[in-house]
Amino acid sequence: MSGLMKRIIPCLDVNNGRVVKGIHFEGLRDMGDPVELALRYQDQGADELVFLDITATVDARPTALAMVRRVSQALSIPFTLGGGLRSVSDISDFLEAGADKVCFNSAALADPSLLNRASQHFGSQCIVVAMDVKRDGEIYRVYSHGGKKGTERQALAWAIEVADRGAGEILLTSIDRDGTGLGYDLSVLQSVTKRLRVPVIASGGAQSAEHLAEGLAHGASAVLAATMFHSGAYTIQSVKQHLAQAGIPVRLETLPC
């Protein structure tokens, strides 16, 4: 049996270098400093963190890089940065600043060959593809531009393609479930994890430890959640204890740093 433990990943949305609540651009509420929040989650036992930069302005790059630099200096667990990356030189900037992985969404849909170039240059281990999917009748359709624009691509075919092109991990978000608290879309999750040989992170809809356990039972290597942790309803420790009691291998020991 694999000794690899299942990962619990809080997701932090960032706007202009501050953590914000909400995934929509309207009505963002300031949640605090990224480094302070990241350290709090690290101390609770988070296995990794994902920062999604939703800053809408194009000249936001220096702010994002400065944030990544500060996070890398403070944090001793891995973190991924997503949002606004377009090119191999963008990746290089963020990895140099200290990000362990970078995450592509719309840019990969617009130019899938970017994934080949990125993985050849930096290795698959640091290239994550985020897929936002939505049920459309019998199929799951992939959306771009923060879930606003439907594409011609279907979830499973796109997942297979990005893995073939060198993505080392897939962050699979259900638009239907995101923000509902109804749990992950287990059907699309299972269809992707059954076929893929790269790790898949389940995302969108989790609001309880049971939801995280369901995602892991349907093939996810890691589970991502935001609101259930940000709201204070759950700590990482409390969900990990729950998962451990359910027989799911999680990393429990966290010595004070």
Partner: protein
């Protein structure tokens, strides 16, 4: 004590540098053997085995490090920086490793990359108990110099030690408090 990080050509050394800084350990970054003025050398590595190994050969690191180890000086390999210390890897069979340890790395089966935390079972006393963060698709199955073992598809060798040379398949710089303890031991 002087510490230097060998820039392995591809990838970056930011995470390792930040981890050493958190321990209060000053360091320099060196690209060629001529730049080295240190007692402890770290060799991190990301990406492909062949890219890193070729870079090290081209820059003259192999003879330098061979001599470094013969003098009993500390070298610490991390991830691909551990892998290139062996003779070769299935990932890039045409590029030889530096050959300080015998053996050829093989590809893991199952989900790859292996990504996440796994327990390190130490084969010697004095190392901290806990899990390290792994990101790799290739491993050394076994070594006469194994220092730690970890389970994935099967058991593999997650740390090795031969005299002053230490190497880890996981990333101590990204392995929380456990990793910080491992790094401290390397600086002892």
């Amino acid at each position: 004590m002087g510490v230097a990080i060998i820039h392995p050509g591809s990838g970056n050394i930011t995470s390792l540098g930040d981890a050493l800084a958190r321990l209060g350990q000053p360091f320099s970054v060196v690209k060629t053997p001529q730049d080295v003025s240190a007692d402890v050398l770290f060799l991190p590595g990301q990406g492909r085995f062949g890219t890193v190994a070729q870079f090290l050969w081209d820059q003259g690191w192999q003879p330098f490090l061979q001599d470094w180890l013969a003098q009993g000086k500390r070298l610490v390999g991390i991830c691909v920086g551990m892998q290139v210390l062996f003779e070769g890897s299935e990932e890039d069979p045409t590029v030889p490793g530096l050959g300080f340890f015998t053996g050829i790395l093989e590809k893991l089966s199952g989900i790859t990359p292996m990504m996440g935390w796994a327990q390190v079972e130490w084969l010697q006393a004095g190392w901290p108990k806990g899990a390290g963060y792994f990101v790799n698709s290739f491993v050394m199955r076994q070594s006469a110099f194994a220092l730690g073992r970890t389970q994935y598809d099967r058991t593999f060798c997650s740390a090795v030690q031969k005299e002053s040379c230490l190497a880890f398949q996981f990333h101590p710089e990204k392995s929380g408090a456990f990793g910080a303890e491992v790094l401290k031991k390397c600086l002892d």
